[in-house]
Amino acid sequence: MRPLGIRATTLVVLVYLGAVLAVLQGFVGSELPITFGASLISHLAGMAAGYGAAIMLILMSRSPWLERDLGAHRLARWHAWTGPLVILLSVLHAVAAVVAWAKASSNHLVAAMRDVLNLPGLLTATVGTVILVLIGFSSLRMVRRHFSYERWHFLHLLTYLAVGFGFAHQLAGPDLAGRRWLQIAWALLYTYAFALVLRWRVVQPLFQLWRHRLRVEQVRQEAPDVMSVLMSGQHLDELRAEPGQFFRWRFLTQETWRSAYPFSLSAPPTRNLLRITIKARGDGTRRLFAIPRGTLVFAEGPYGALTRRRRRRPRVLLIAGGVGITPMRTLFEEIGLPGKDVTLVYRASKEQDLVLKHELDEIAERSGARVVYLVGPSSDARNDMSAHALNRIVGDLSDHDVYLCGSPRLASRVRDSLMDSGFPRHHLHEERFTF
């Protein structure tokens, strides 16, 4: 993964500084003398959870500044650990608050909980916390697999509601109440977070829908369970989409409009055409195979920094697994290097799983680049994808940038092997998508 730039580092420092200030305010808001107990825990956890919830919204606002400077993968990774952290802190805050109340009022926990819920703004905040807990529960790996992506995604969107429910309580909490400037700063943190979400997750896609009028032009089968969707539109060059990037696509039919799917462009974008290639992973993606011609497409993007601009070394090794070939296919054609300096290693378990093979062969023939297919079981020594094997394929990995896109298992195997061999992390570029 590439190191953070100056702007991104500044942003990260500011976020941490904000977290420290929010937690310190939890101490300031506590009554003197400060003693460690349920009350203090409630103050600290509450402030940290409130701050974390706003940061979580900002991270997932799809702002191009964040996507460009931090990368979609890093943002998703941070979201993956700030999300559970915010939920845990919210629950800790609620439990500690009830315990502190029970202790202060010399009452039992159930009566204390009833008292707390009767306070202004506390019922909605509790509903918000319950929603967050449900979202967190649905995201656990063992539970997640029982949900379709569409249901899980819809449930995830309730985060906005949950965060909104907690806002009034935060502003009226003892750590902020009566401290006018802090209340204004806190309110601005939230209104800016929601403004970012509105700007980039609603206004921008709506604008793109109007400006580009993207519609499905053709759906074509590429392999069993793999389809390419060709879309036509206007002024698509204004999107400034680059090979290797992806969009979040929402196909506006009655069955599919609820879900946005992240798919990479599988052909270099032109002024009026975009193409993606999809593998059926569940009922939702399978439904996309039946999209009629002319369907309007709501596209958010382009996102992702897996582009040729990342390249720093004179040669490139592209590694793809399965349908992970899509961004690699575009980079293979448009990486901007002489063919002899470009190698594509494409791994699939069966010959028929090699997607877009005829296009890859054609590009290789035209440019003089090399494409190596590794087909069959991974136990076969010929399909070894260790750093040692890759080094053997390209001659010398030390003058290569490596671009990687494949299944989580394949990606982690290749990444671990490269890192173990001492390959510099910032010369490995990858994009990981999670459904």
Binding site: S30, E31, S39, S42, H43, A97, A100, W101, K103, A104, S105, D115, V116, L119, P120, G121, L122, L171, A172, G173, P174, L176, A177, G178, R180, Q183, I184, A185, W186, A187, L188, L189, Y190, T191, Y192, F194, A195, L198, R199, V203, Q204, F207, W210, R211, R213, R215, E217, S232, Q234, H235, E238, N272, L273, G294
Partner: protein, 72 residues
């Protein structure tokens, strides 16, 4: 593909064709203006909400009523 694109162009309603005439630079500036207005509204809303936020926490109200002093 060009035939299909032309055919597609014919199917675009007249109101949609307006977008063809708008210059990219005008579009960019309009979007910038939208961003500025959106964040201006967010600033006004944030300041307003912050200014009108409660001065006393509900727990303090309870405290004044002498029911409990839990300091939450």
């Amino acid at each position: 593909m060009s035939d299909a694109a032309l055919d597609y162009g014919r199917r675009i309603p007249r109101i949609a064709r307006l977008s063809v005439a708008v210059s990219p630079s005008l579009i960019r500036w309009t979007l910038r203006l939208v961003t500025v207005l959106l964040f201006g509204a967010a600033t006004a809303l944030g300041v307003n909400v912050g200014m009108n936020a409660p001065e006393i926490s509900p727990t303090s109200v309870v405290q004044q009523d002498g029911v409990a002093t839990p300091d939450l």
